[in-house]
């Protein structure tokens, strides 16, 4: 008979306590920092109060796992400049609406009368383009490897259906180079990674191999239920205890070792890899996806050129440090004071999966 989740969690907690009390590679008196890089993990960990289940020395740190949060102000500024200059109908995911640029946001632009619409599926934007041939439609393609294959399908559909009034502004980014950048950054101290579940469903295990092979850091691809997260943490501690690191899959339901090679191929057919600017982390080499030259006709950045904009990051906003896991939301002077979900100053509070939004919603004053 399948044991209840409560029983399972209790068993796993006991195992963690046991490892903590043994004298081995994992020291219970030393802070052990586990970083997750997935907005959905940030929310699940906060919602199910996972830190309360763990010994005090294990710190769960939130990293740059929210694609909206890592979108640079300059991208928002450029998108807004395009919208102001050209008469477009813009489609985007809901989270992007309130992300602050230097002076405005998509939400504010919409309030001023610009045609900006929220879609759940990227296909909605293409459907609209087909039904409204007199309008030019721009889809803001944002997301990591979970979402990039969807944009790839969208582009291929636009090609095969000969849609002429459809354009894509790609802000897609890929995760493994960001992990590498974090491991190379002396300010960021990561002892282990909880790897994203759905990005990994697409890319599989191999892209993460460098984490153990080069940096000797344990990493586990985790599901989203509390027992999955805490089991993944136990798997990490076992790796430390046994002094061998590797990429393990806890989220076996969905993540196959090879991922979804067909989805990866769609991405490779449509995108090329370029350097990309991440809010808080700066430019990360080979971490962004841009449309290949053969799809120039659909590239909003080429079709709707605008003058260079000087972008400014909001002063006092600690999103950059929060995204790197160096500071927690409570370390930011604006948190809960001038920066709240109703009045967000930075993207970490705007996004429903942002670290600051998670802390605001779930963590009490400590």
């Amino acid at each position: 008979m399948k044991e209840s989740s409560e029983q399972l969690i209790k068993k796993i907690r006991n195992s963690i306590e046991k490892i903590s009390s043994e004298n081995n590679g994992y020291h219970k008196d030393r802070t052990f920092r586990i970083m997750e890089v997935c907005g959905t993990h940030t929310m699940a960990i906060a919602h199910y109060q996972i830190p309360q289940l763990l010994p005090e020395n294990i710190n769960l740190i939130s990293g740059p796992g929210c694609p909206v949060c890592v979108t640079a102000a300059s991208d928002i500024d450029r998108i807004i400049e395009i919208i102001k200059t050209y008469n477009l109908t813009v489609f985007t995911f809901g989270d992007m609406m309130r992300v602050p640029g230097s002076a405005s946001s998509l939400s504010l632009q919409k309030a001023e009368g610009r045609k900006i619409k929220i879609c759940y599926s990227p296909l909605d934007s293409l459907e609209y383009a087909k039904e409204n041939p007199g309008e030019n439609i721009m889809f803001i393609a944002i997301g990591f490897e979970t979402t990039a294959p969807l944009t790839a399908v969208l582009v291929k559909k636009a090609v095969s259906e000969k849609i002429k009034n459809f354009f894509i502004y790609s802000t897609h980014k890929i995760i493994p180079p960001a992990l590498k950048a974090l491991l190379e950054d002396r300010e960021v101290k990561v002892d282990a990674f909880l790897l994203p579940g759905h990005v990994s469903a697409i890319i599989g295990v191999k892209p993460y191999d460098f984490i153990s092979k080069i940096y000797n850091i344990p990493a586990v691809i985790s599901g989203f239920e509390p027992e999955s997260i805490i089991k993944s943490i136990l798997m990490i501690l076992n790796q430390v205890k046994e002094e061998k690191s590797g990429i393990q899959v806890e989220y076996k339901t969905v993540v196959k070792h090879e991922g979804n090679p067909f989805a990866v191929k769609q991405m490779e057919d449509v995108f090329e890899i370029k350097d990309s600017l991440w809010r808080g982390l700066g430019i990360i080499k080979d971490s962004g996806l841009e449309l290949k030259k053969i799809f120039n006709n659909f590239d909003a950045k080429l079709s709707f050129s605008v003058k260079e904009i000087k972008s400014i990051e909001l002063s006092g906003c600690e999103c950059g440090n929060v995204l790197k896991g160096i500071k927690r939301p409570n370390d930011c002077a604006q948190f809960k004071r001038t920066c709240t979900p109703d009045n967000p100053l930075g993207p970490c509070m705007v996004s429903s999966e942002g670290t600051c939004a998670a802390y605001f919603k779930y963590y009490r004053e400590n």
């Binding site: 995911f93 909605d124 239920e225």
Partner: protein, 74 residues
């Protein structure tokens, strides 16, 4: 944003499928999972199936999902 939920494939029509997820039936795109058939379980993200999942595992996952993400939401 990376939220993806399990769903059961009911019917397939070219590059789309009718799926059922927590008693809600909807249409999704299946271009990324070629070769799936009615009765399969998939994980759905932003209107697309992104991966096939094991049926027995899917039932367990749906159980967790129901418990944590739907019931707890109230």
């Amino acid at each position: 944003m990376c939220l993806a939920i399990p769903a059961k494939v009911l019917k397939i029509e070219k590059d789309e499928a009718e799926v059922e997820s927590f008693e809600v039936v909807k249409r999704i795109n299946i271009s990324l999972v070629p070769g799936i058939k009615a009765g399969d379980y998939v994980i759905v993200h932003a209107g697309f199936a992104i991966q096939l999942i094991d049926k027995d595992e899917a039932e367990i996952t749906r159980g967790y999902w129901k418990k944590y993400f739907i019931e707890d939401a109230e």
